[in-house]
Point group: C2
Chain length 378, copies 2
């Protein structure tokens, strides 16, 4: 029996309850049934994002949600500061430049976070910057950034802070309101345990005020329209209906578990995986690791051998590295619907394969450390 298991940092594992919701008979979106589901979804997204701000749901990937932020929260001729520390945070720059926005990049080597001091220096040098486009958890490297500190700096300079929270919402404490995050973008196929196809964006009063003024041209990603429709439990264009019902099912599970427990579970899983990797004698890329994914440095460019062997022999799908890290890291995903038993599956397959490939000396220390990290048994 070949049983495929997803351990990528997105798309992530989907609970049966969510799959079942996808397959329900289709209802029209202009019905009470759909409006109720959308309302519940938006309310539950506020819960996991810890915000009273409206959260709009867009039928697109997370990148569509990011573009919606760029076109609505910046205007032609403006200047923004972007933290660049990996593939996804670089995307903010690419998008802003696509729209002719001037970009001041503050960068860190892949594997490191940008420091608050760097961000502060950029704002001091560019006091006319209108927004900071940044990322909480950089999926390509598994690095977590201090967006709370970034927010304070941005606000001191009267700039908006726009956060890619695509792999942090639902696995880290994202205190949208307390920290003052003006926009936070998420994607359905990440911490919220649903297949890809939906993005969601929270928008602060300052963000809404900004987008009601000058901004870029856009039709499908017009967030003024989206916020207005959301207030009527509707969407401007036909939504991906089954995915909204899937997301409803997933968010119900998360609410039942409780946000604190969800975050604690992710911290425990991520911590246990890191302990296992260390015990195997391997190094990790991220200086300040995210709970979403653990990027493991693989010697001799042999990461591809590991990902292939894990997929073909164990049915365990993990991710490799992107761009210059291709071949040099693997990314073990623990974002979403995973518990200790899943981590045991993941680490057992990983350690077995690394041992067979001669990349680690012994077989066992990883799994043992994993169990110990959970307090005695996986």
């Amino acid at each position: 029996m070949k049983r495929a298991r997803l351990f990528t940092p997105g798309p992530t594992a989907v609970p049966d309850e969510v799959l079942a919701a996808l397959g329900r008979p289709l209802v029209h979106h202009r019905t009470q049934a759909f409006g109720d589901a959308l309302t519940e979804v938006m309310c539950d997204l506020q819960y996991i994002m810890q915000t009273q701000n409206p959260v709009v749901v867009l039928s697109s990937s997370g990148s569509g949600g990011m573009e919606a932020c760029v076109v609505n929260l910046t205007a032609p001729g403006e200047k923004v500061i972007v933290t660049e520390l990996g593939k996804f945070s670089n995307r903010w720059r690419e998008m802003a430049q696509t729209y002719g926005v001037e970009v001041v990049s503050v960068s860190a080597e892949w594997g490191h976070a940008v420091t608050p001091d760097q961000v502060a220096a950029a704002f001091t040098a560019h006091p006319d910057a209108t927004a900071l486009l940044t990322i909480h958890s950089e999926t390509s490297t598994g690095v977590l950034q201090d967006v709370e500190a970034f927010a304070q700096i941005a606000h001191r300079h009267d700039a908006l802070i726009v956060v890619d929270g695509i792999t942090s919402v639902g696995c880290h404490d994202v205190r949208t309101d307390e920290w003052g995050l003006d926009a936070v973008v998420g994607g359905s196929q990440k911490g919220v345990m649903t297949p890809p196809g939906l993005a969601y964006v929270s928008l602060s009063p300052a963000a809404i005020q900004k987008m009601e003024g000058r901004r870029h041209a856009s039709y499908y990603f017009d967030l003024v329209k989206a916020v207005k429709s959301a207030g009527k439990a509707d969407t401007p264009y036909t939504p991906a209906i089954p995915l909204v019902f899937g997301l409803q099912a997933a968010l119900r599970m998360m609410r039942e578990e409780g946000l604190e427990n969800v975050i604690a579970r992710h911290a425990a899983n991520a911590g246990a995986v890191r302990a296992a990797v260390s015990a195997m004698g391997l190094s990790m890329l991220a200086e300040t690791p995210s709970n979403a994914t653990t990027a493991v440095l693989i010697p001799d460019g042999r990461a591809g051998d590991i990902t292939k062997k894990m997929e073909h022999e164990h049915g365990v799908k993990i991710a490799g590295g992107q761009q210059h890290l291709n071949g040099h890291i693997v990314r073990l995903g623990h974002l979403g619907f995973y518990n200790a038993a899943d981590m045991l599956t993941l680490v057992t397959a990983f350690e077995t394969v690394c041992h067979e490939l001669g990349l680690v000396d012994a077989r066992g220390p990883g799994v043992e450390a994993l169990g110990a990290a959970y307090g005695g048994g996986a």
Copy 2:
């Protein structure tokens, strides 16, 4: 037992085979399994669109597909001709104007088609127009337009013809290559019997050449990237994976039925519904009716009474009118997964409700005419 049935012109009824495909265990999009499904989907879309042009699949509603055409196939400062005859064809103007494109409108009263002579006159008056943005089946009125004739005119003036085929692909003969349609946009929740969340766009060599030159800024809807990815059985951003598998299942059914039979079935269903409506003594809005939906004129602004009663008492969801036609028409949908038995359900409920509301004198002539139209029995 309340059994809900969708007879709206989108979202349309979804076969069980498609619902089952949505609920399958999620696979990653960077796998052979997903690449094979996407390749099959793109190939089957070429089949129903009768084209050798690449057809790209976008994770968005049909409106997203339209916007992708506007941003990629027009450039700042250009002029386009738009046929306006209802809510969805008007959207081309709104989108083009959002991007600062000059729009020459050629309009017809709602319920009528724009004539080829009108389009030719517009091109003669505006020889600098670079594209005609038009619609095949106008969903808000149920009107079909002669896009074959439009294409000849556009090409005589060296302009591209960009067609909203959202409610014509899969229910009408759309001869993309024979007629020379440069771009045709479709949506998953229409003739291809899948829930909403995907758009698809075919692009001629001339369209591709145009978009490789000057165009508007866009990131998520960058069709140059989309075409390039499609050639590698991939998408630039994470796709709505379950919907692609759903679309695969739906298109297999359509290929098995055969495109000619699919179109003939739609013509038979639409013709039978029109015969029924006439026999009931009611009038229809569309001068040149589409096979997607039949717009029926309702006296005394009582369309809302009909749609509510049909939904609540019969579980049959139909659509009302939009904008100034709200209250004055109902739209009976027969686009997609319907046969004679479904039309019998639809017409029986419609005639019963119209009779109960005193809008028609007798109960029976509609159903009788429906049966006769099918050759003796529904």
